[in-house]
Structure formats: structure tokens, C-alpha cells
């Protein structure tokens, strides 16, 4: 024992149990470092990005409204149907944030395989692919293809919901869709 400033302090003495505790701590640290899946704790951005830009890069499950808004501006989306049984779902608050007008009264128009093919074959048609929740609440997400064609309409204002296959939906610029299936109400 050493007397220090009026206090009695015992010397550090290594017991087997202390060694066991230190080894246990080192094992945990090693397991943390070498046994867990490596996770990068943050991302690195080059300059400020808006939420919409990040959402586009991340292909976020809820990103459809942002993708439409980022690429098409303030437009109307109709024939969305309902989440429970026949359509796709865009939360109202995200539509409001992105200045989109939604009309979900009517279900998406079901396109035949020929019409779907014909739509994509029109020269100049481009597709932006996103996804959103669809066809019931069971945490199911569907692909949504946003189809436009500048030579048909270079300032789109209205997109119509369509069902391209069992669980692939589309938001097709109204005039482009009319070229394939005729008048859309």
C-alpha cells in the first residue's frame, strides 16, 4: 500500500477475475469490429441536395410523388384507384408537399399486353421508373413507370394511371395514352 496525500491507495493488482473481465471486454470489442455486418454510418454528398434529389437517388419506396414532381413539375394524376384492392397509393401529405393534384376515384385503366407494347414503341417515349405502395396494406410495393413523350406533348399537365401487368403500374401522359387507346375520360 502507498500513502498518498493522506489517502491510502492500494496498488493495482491483477487478479484472475480482473483478467477475465478485461478479456471479456476485448472479446466484445473484437466481435463488434469483426463479426457484425459492416455498415457505413453516413453518406457523403457533394453539395447540398434537396429531398427530391436524394429521394430520386435512393429510389425510395414512397418516392413516386417526388419523382413525378422533380421530372414533370406540378401536374394532375388521375385513375389512381385505391390501395386496398385495385390501385396505387400516394399519401396526401406527400402530394401536397410536391404540389401534385390527385384523383383516386377511378381505378387504373387496365392495358392489354399489345397496348402496353404499342405505348413504349411510339418514337420518343421515355420511362422513368419508380415505385409506391399498392394492392393492399401488406407492405407490398409495385413498380410504377412514368411514361412521357416530348414529341407528343412537351408540357404535360395530366398523367393517367394504368395497369401494365399484374403488379406493374404506369402513370402515362394523357395525350400519349390517347394515341394508343383513344379518348380517356
Amino acid at each position: 500500500m502507498i500513502a498518498q496525500q493522506g489517502r491510502v491507495v492500494k496498488k493495482f493488482k491483477l487478479s484472475k477475475r480482473l483478467v477475465a473481465l478485461v478479456v471479456a471486454a476485448l472479446l466484445i470489442v473484437s466481435a463488434n469490429l469483426f463479426l457484425t455486418k459492416r455498415t457505413i454510418p453516413f453518406q457523403r454528398l457533394h453539395g447540398y441536395q434537396t429531398a427530391a434529389e436524394m429521394i430520386e437517388n435512393k429510389n425510395w419506396n414512397w418516392g413516386l410523388a417526388f419523382i413525378v414532381s422533380l421530372n414533370q413539375g406540378e401536374v394532375t394524376l388521375d385513375h389512381l384507384g385505391n390501395l386496398e384492392n385495385n390501385g396505387i397509393f400516394i399519401p396526401d401529405e406527400l402530394a401536397q408537399v410536391t404540389n401534385l393534384q390527385l384523383d383516386a376515384k377511378v381505378p387504373p385503366i387496365v392495358l392489354s399486353a399489345e397496348d402496353s407494347f404499342a405505348l413504349r414503341q411510339i418514337a420518343g417515349t421515355s420511362a422513368t421508373i419508380s415505385k409506391t405502395r399498392c394492392l393492399n396494406r401488406g407492405y407490398k410495393y409495385c413498380e410504377v413507370d412514368i411514361l412521357t413523350n416530348d414529341s407528343v406533348n412537351d408540357s404535360p399537365k395530366r398523367f393517367v394511371g394504368v395497369r401494365l401487368s399484374a403488379n406493374v403500374f404506369g402513370l402515362v401522359e394523357a395525350q400519349l395514352l390517347e394515341k394508343v387507346i383513344g379518348q380517356v375520360n
Binding site: A25, N32, T39, F42, Q43, A51
Partner: protein, 495 residues
């Protein structure tokens, strides 16, 4: 440029406001000031939303109201600023570090759905969008106060630097709280215990994710750590009981306004500490009223879907009646209320076990996920809980520090509360759940709320093992004066 000026302004105001409440403890001064600023942001935004309904509005009204209110509240503390050199250095230092990390290095949140939602709403708020967007069930789940803080910019820009700043505040509160709790131990034990805990905690990914991760968890952790530290050691740290109560209310208000489960956590914390020596019925009533007022403010400002129809007036009426009921029981049967408060952990445990039995099948997947996340390293928490388990088991065979028992009781009860909150959240559309495997599961992220308390508890736990005969390292620590949560007060005692 506005971002940086605003951040420096907030840093200085945090010190000016904080030093009006507590002068000598830097680790509390700056965070208390910051918590006050968060509450002021919510309050001024609420006023702006109310004025907007009266058609009184102009560009960035919420920002200017916020600045004016912060200036007004800071003025009485300005005289103390020259003596607060260290606090200013720390506060402005956080801003500099956050600015360097965010703007120069470009470090930013790990992309996650909730973060993207929060960022999008923050932009909408800073662009002057309507508050009612945040009233839907999915938006309410993303909280409120953090969205408003991030949306303090103008013209749809966000102030992302708040995330590392909040993390920094949480770090200094945890360090200060830990040092205060450990003051009975020798420096050598303190260093060894702290190093052991720091190594096991910071070799896991979650604490690093939390530095930039955009979500309310870090802010809730800050609020809870400040509240618990104040409840435990307020009698030593604060000059007056009023300052203590003010700090507790600030912390509870921020916790309530930041996450949907915040109100529940706040009420449980109030119940846990209601019987502590020196606590008066008015403290408990004011604290409960603060939680209710904060919750209602949030719900009314965002025009919450919860407040439709009769609920719009039944809920506040119920809250008023609840406070009145607690007051009446305090007045006429204080023994009963003290017993009820003391039984909070047991009541929560009974509900939890009951739900586990009733929903045994539905909860199996969640229980497995919970174990996988926390003990098998899939939740980004590494294997630190194994160490904590060892310390906890050993503590049953050693002479326990009273503070260790107290902190374990607080931690355990808050963990149970989180389980129940998650069950309610997951059970909205069917059977309750306890989450899924992965760092981003909401229950798994909720554990970050208790990181400050966990670290302090773990350091004390390691220290008490080191100082026990068990390891032959027998430095007897001085006992630490803290409050007793386990024995309900007799009627009239210190009330």
C-alpha cells in the same frame, strides 16, 4: 450564409438562456438552453399557424417570430455571458464542427425512409407550407419538433447541421452526468470503466449512425438524459427548485414534441420520479400538465387526424380531468397515489407479460427479431448488450451502488414502455409486433433514446465490479447521494 449566422445565434442564445437556469455546470447549461430553443421554435410556429388561420401572414413570419422570441428570452442572461467563456466555446465549437462535417466534408444522414420523409417536410415548412400537412397518421409518426428545427431555413432550404449539434449536446450531457455520478470513485477506476464502456459502445455502428441520422431519436435522448439527471441530482446542481422544475418541464416537452411515443415516455418518467425525496405534488401536476399541453399543441397545430369529431374536445377535457384527478388523490389519499407511482414498473411489466401471453403467436417473429438485433449484432448495436448483461448479473452478487439500482430501474421501465409503444404502433392494423431484423427497425432505433442513460449505467456497473472484492481490486468508493425511487413515501413525508 443565413444558416451559419442562425446557428451561431442559436449557439450563443443557448448559453444565454441556459445560464439563467444553471450557472456552474456547463454540461447542463448549453443543453438546457438548446432545449428551450426547441420549445420556443414550436411555440412560435404554433403562433404562426394560428395567425395564418386569421389570414395574418407574411414571408418567413415563423422565422422572425422565432428570432424575436429567442432574443427576448436571452436578454436577462446576457450579463452572465462574459463569465461563460467555456460554455460559449463549446456551443460555438459544436456549430463549427457540424458546419465542417456537413458543408465541407459533405457528411449526411444514412438514407432511410423516415429521414427522407422528415427532410421533405422540413423543406415544406421552411418554404412556408401549411402545418396541416403534418397531421396525418404517417406524418405524426415522424414527429414534430425536429421537422420544425430542420425547417428553420428560408425558401425551402433545410438546416441539416442540427443533427450533429444535437449529438454533441447529448455527448456533453452524458459525460457530465457520468462524471457527476462517478465522483465517489477514484480517477483510475473512472478511467478504466469509461474506457471499457466507450470501447464496447463506440465499436458498434449505431452511435456513429446517430451523429448525422435525421430522426428524432437523438433529440429524445437529449431530453430524457437531461430530465433524469435533473431528477436525480437537481438538489445539488440547481440553485432553486423552480429552476429544477423548469428544466424537467423543458425536457419533457421536447421529448413529447419530438416522437409519437414521447408523451408516453414522459409520463412514465414523471411517475418513476414522483416519489423522490423533495418532490411535491405541484411538481408532478405541473410536469403532467406540461406533457399534455405539449401534446395538444402539436395535435392542434397540425390539425391531427386524431382530433376529429368529438375527440377534438373530449381529449383535452380528459386530460384536464386526469390532472384534476391526480390532484384530488394527492389531496385526499396521498398514500394511494404514491403506491401507484411506485408500482409503475410492475404495472408495465404485467401488461407486457400479459400481451406476450395473449399474442404469443403474433409476437414470436418480433421477439426473435429483437434478440437478433440486440444480441446477435444485426441491429448495429454490436455485442455490447452481452457485456451489459454480465455487469448486471455480477451486480446481484456484489455490493451494489444505490445509483446503479436507480438507473437500472429507470432504464428497465423505459425499455418496457418502448415495447408497449411499439406494440401499439405495430398493432394498429392487426396483431401487435416487436419489429423486424435490421438497424432501421423502429423499435431498434428507439433504443437510442436511452443511450445516455445506458452509458452512465454501464460505467457505474463496470466501476462497481472493479471496486468489489470479486476482482480483488478493492477500492471502496464513497457512496453517492441520490434519490431513492424504490420506497414509496409515507403520507405527508416531504410533501
Amino acid at each position: 450564409m443565413l444558416d451559419l449566422s442562425l446557428l451561431v445565434f442559436i449557439a450563443l442564445a443557448s448559453v444565454a438562456i441556459g445560464c439563467q437556469v444553471v450557472l456552474k455546470h456547463l454540461w447542463l447549461t448549453v443543453p438546457i438552453g438548446f432545449l428551450a430553443i426547441v420549445v420556443l421554435r414550436v411555440a412560435t410556429y404554433a403562433v404562426t399557424a394560428f395567425l395564418a388561420q386569421l389570414q395574418v401572414s407574411f414571408e418567413n413570419l415563423d422565422l422572425w417570430l422565432f428570432i424575436a422570441s429567442v432574443v427576448a428570452v436571452s436578454i436577462p442572461g446576457l450579463k452572465n455571458l462574459p463569465k461563460q467563456g467555456w460554455a460559449i466555446l463549446v456551443s460555438v465549437g459544436f456549430v463549427a464542427l457540424a458546419e465542417f462535417g456537413s458543408r465541407v466534408l459533405g457528411l449526411f444522414t444514412k438514407p432511410h425512409g423516415d429521414s427522407l420523409w422528415i427532410l421533405a417536410l422540413a423543406e415544406y415548412v421552411s418554404g412556408g407550407g401549411s402545418a396541416s400537412v403534418m397531421g396525418t397518421s404517417m406524418s405524426l409518426k415522424r414527429g414534430f419538433s425536429l421537422i420544425l428545427m430542420l425547417g428553420l431555413g428560408e425558401g425551402k432550404t433545410r438546416i441539416d447541421e442540427f443533427m450533429p449539434i444535437i449529438f454533441g449536446m447529448l455527448a456533453i450531457v452524458t459525460i457530465g452526468f457520468g462524471l457527476h455520478v462517478m465522483r465517489g470513485f477514484s480517477r483510475r477506476v473512472l478511467v478504466i470503466a469509461t474506457a471499457a464502456v466507450a470501447l464496447t459502445v463506440f465499436t458498434a455502428a449505431m452511435p456513429w449512425i446517430a451523429v448525422f441520422y435525421v430522426n428524432g431519436h437523438t433529440l429524445v435522448a437529449l431530453g430524457l438524459t437531461v430530465v433524469v439527471a435533473t431528477m436525480l441530482f437537481g438538489h445539488e446542481l440547481f440553485a432553486s427548485r423552480g429552476a429544477q422544475l423548469f428544466t424537467v418541464c423543458l425536457g419533457l416537452s421536447v421529448v413529447t414534441l419530438t416522437r409519437p411515443e414521447g408523451a408516453l415516455l414522459s409520463l412514465v418518467v414523471i411517475a418513476l420520479f414522483a416519489n423522490r425525496k423533495g418532490s411535491k405534488p405541484t411538481d408532478v401536476l405541473v410536469s403532467i400538465a406540461t406533457v399534455f399541453a405539449s401534446f395538444l399543441t402539436w395535435m392542434y397545430v397540425v390539425n391531427s387526424y386524431l382530433l376529429t369529431g368529438r375527440v377534438a374536445w373530449l381529449l383535452p377535457l380528459g386530460m384536464v380531468l386526469f390532472v384534476a384527478g391526480v390532484w384530488a388523490i394527492y389531496r385526499w389519499v396521498p398514500k394511494l397515489i404514491n403506491r401507484l407511482f411506485a408500482l409503475t414498473p410492475l404495472i408495465l411489466l404485467t401488461v407486457f407479460v400479459g400481451l406476450q401471453i395473449v399474442f404469443f403467436g403474433a409476437l414470436q417473429k418480433g421477439d426473435r427479431s429483437l434478440f437478433t438485433n440486440l444480441f446477435l449484432g444485426f441491429g448495429a448495436w454490436g455485442f455490447m448488450l452481452w457485456g451489459f448483461l454480465v455487469i448486471t448479473v455480477l451486480s446481484f452478487f456484489l455490493e451494489r451502488q444505490r445509483i446503479f439500482g436507480t438507473l437500472m430501474r429507470v432504464l428497465g421501465t423505459l425499455v418496457l414502455t418502448s415495447f408497449l409503444a411499439k406494440m401499439v404502433d405495430g398493432g394498429q392494423f392487426g396483431a401487435p409486433t416487436l419489429g423486424r431484423v435490421g438497424w432501421d427497425d423502429s423499435l431498434n432505433r428507439m433504443w437510442f433514446h436511452f443511450i445516455g442513460l445506458f452509458i452512465v449505467t454501464a460505467v457505474v456497473g463496470v466501476a462497481q465490479v472493479l471496486t468489489s472484492k470479486f476482482v480483488g481490486f478493492n477500492f471502496k468508493p464513497r457512496s453517492i447521494d441520490t434519490v431513492d425511487l424504490e420506497t414509496p413515501l409515507a403520507a405527508g413525508e416531504s410533501k
